[in-house]
Symmetry: C2
Subunit: 334 residues, 2 copies
DNA sequence: GTATAGAATGTAACCGCTTACATTCACTTC
DNA sequence: GAAGTGAATGTAAGCGGTTACATTCTATAC
């Protein structure tokens, strides 16, 4: 691989001049620029990004941490982040935190040790305090699905409470008076917010919340199935179910089916997140849309703006959920 | 951030010695090693990976190119690759090729310009010739879902023909005599192989292949729906459908449903790939398992072995598909 | 014609590490 | 006791760029 030195030789200029045309900065006369570019072409020269990084103290890489690399939900986000950053000539290093505090910290360590210029994190397990000190450290961070007062401009979140409020309202308006709730892990802030929205909708409709109609899961399919089993076993009748996310809703549906109940005739179900395969289900699952793709894109833009000094980027920080009505809910005959 | 120089000062040794304990190579006396380690700890020293890369001419990063970053299928692969490589202290740079020749080439260019030590590619659009010259270039590549004679040890593939052969046989054995085929884009080698397996199973069962029962799609949902529409419109009756992948099968199912037909009573359907949500469908989709996760892992290991000199890794190159029987197929009453 | 300013280009130090080679030093060996 | 040996450590030259500062050159003003 040719180096900048060889290019300078061939073009008959100094290293500095070649570097200047490379960074098309400063003033280089059109004539020398042309000479240098010709030399680069002739040698098939491509800058060594590692050397550039070392000299400029900028790696042009941003680290992205998500709970899981697979999974319907995060793939979308990864995709939009990569798309946006790649277009700006930056590259992305991904890592998975597996919703475990130690693993999340280890991954952050790992990414930081990789000289990332910035980190985009979708984490739950680490504390606000930890994130606070991290945010005050040398490498800037952006947060998806979480708010940190220290860096309001680089936090991107959805109004989770509003989302399940809408979902619950939809069920109530269809005549459901007994509505169960399948909660996410309540130590996670978003799971709590979603639960609050559910309760608020109930209260506003003059319905009381019944502890026996609550089950807590971990956002995964199996826990949804198990949650539904415990709800049914409790014996309190209900005609609607609001699930804190789509995956648990799927688990719940499996359980319901195994008992010979049919959806939505015997039970109306509504999920949250609008992961892509909810459309494919039969009946298609009603859910609440979570615009994770644009949120990822916005986070990417915020680092483009704050870290790389790019200007004129359109950025939004707060997002509104939107109800997606499909066949898994039906009117309840009073 | 502390540098190796400060560590050497504090420990009272030379730069080289610090570097030696860092790479725990060579012989360093236990005493000096301890001194150095203490100094590193005291300074909170962490090596600058960029500088290491520049000096050692090794970036410790491997580039991974997939058609799409989102999507049920590739997420699994990304996940296992990251897992395996991360455990070895390497990091992964992902990029998407979008099954487009120019974009795939651009992504490969991009990854190579990032000084990746190796590339793991899941590509279709670029030619064998292009891959051949790439493989002879300076950066080693590994291929998933494709074979290149130049690098047999770093190609990882599934016997696609066998997979659809099995799927088709399964339908035939259930009494289906009229079986339609929803092909992938036939310019892709795997789509062709799958189609061949279908034809072979038919021939072996003494059934003739009817051109009117063939539709070609692009592996995406919408094309499956459209393919099914054209099959139905053609008017030739059939009781079974083999789809070249699961996503198209989903599209086909939508179309079928809209016409009031029920699966599997009116039509038995079988897909290919066993993407995770096939389980969630109702009825659950029969399919052919594609062990993309272990294939990704194996590709990662092959670069660990060939590029980073790691030994004792268990590696397999060829994989066998396996039929997954679920509720979307039923016996056809003769 | 000389002084002077500003644009274009060059010089060289540095980024933080690796590594070939040189040096030191404590033991053996005869 | 001199010479030889090998392990531990040090020296210094890169790796391929960036960039502050110095230098050269040209055009303008007087």
């Amino acid at each position: 691989m040719a180096t900048i030195y060889e290019v300078s030789e061939l073009a008959g200029v100094s290293l500095a001049t070649v570097s200047r045309v490379l960074n098309n900065s400063d003033k280089v006369s059109p004539a020398t620029r042309a000479k240098v570019e010709a030399a680069m072409r002739e040698l098939g020269y491509r800058p060594n990004t590692i050397a550039q990084s070392l000299a400029s103290n900028r790696s042009n890489s941003v680290g992205v941490l998500v709970p899981e690399l697979d999974g319907a939900f995060f793939g979308i986000m990864l995709s939009s982040i990569e798309d946006e950053l790649r277009a700006a000539g930056k590259h992305v290093i991904f890592s998975a935190g597996h919703s475990d505090e130690e693993k999340e910290k280890a991954s952050i360590e790992f990414l930081a040790s990789r000289q990332c210029d910035a980190l985009i994190l979708h984490v739950f397990a680490v504390s606000d305090e930890y994130l606070g000190t991290l945010a005050n450290g040398p490498v800037p961070i952006a947060l998806i699905g979480r708010n940190l007062p220290e860096i309001p401009g680089r936090c991107f979140s959805l109004d989770n409470e509003e989302g399940s409020y809408q979902a619950t309202r939809a069920l109530v308006e269809l005549g459901h008076r007994k509505v169960a709730y399948l909660a996410g892990p309540l130590w996670k802030s978003d799971a709590r917010a979603r639960f609050v929205g559910f309760q608020r909708a109930l209260a506003e409709s003059g319905l009381s919340f019944d502890q026996a109609l609550l089950a807590e899961g971990n956002y995964q399919e199996a826990s949804g199935k198990q949650g539904m089993r415990s709800l049914l076993r409790a014996g309190k009748p209900f005609t609607g179910l609001v699930s804190a996310n789509d995956e648990m809703a799927i688990g719940a549906i499996e359980e319901v089916r195994e008992r010979g109940m049919v959806i939505p005739d015997d039970l109306s179900i509504i999920g949250f997140d609008n992961v892509f395969f909810t459309r494919f289900m039969n009946p298609a699952l009603s859910t609440v849309n979570y615009p994770i793709d644009v949120m990822g894109r916005m986070a990417a833009r915020s680092v483009l703006r704050d870290v790389y000094g790019q200007e004129g980027l359109e950025i939004r920080n707060r997002f509104e959920p939107a109800l997606v009505r499909r066949a898994s809910v039906a009117r309840h005959a009073q």
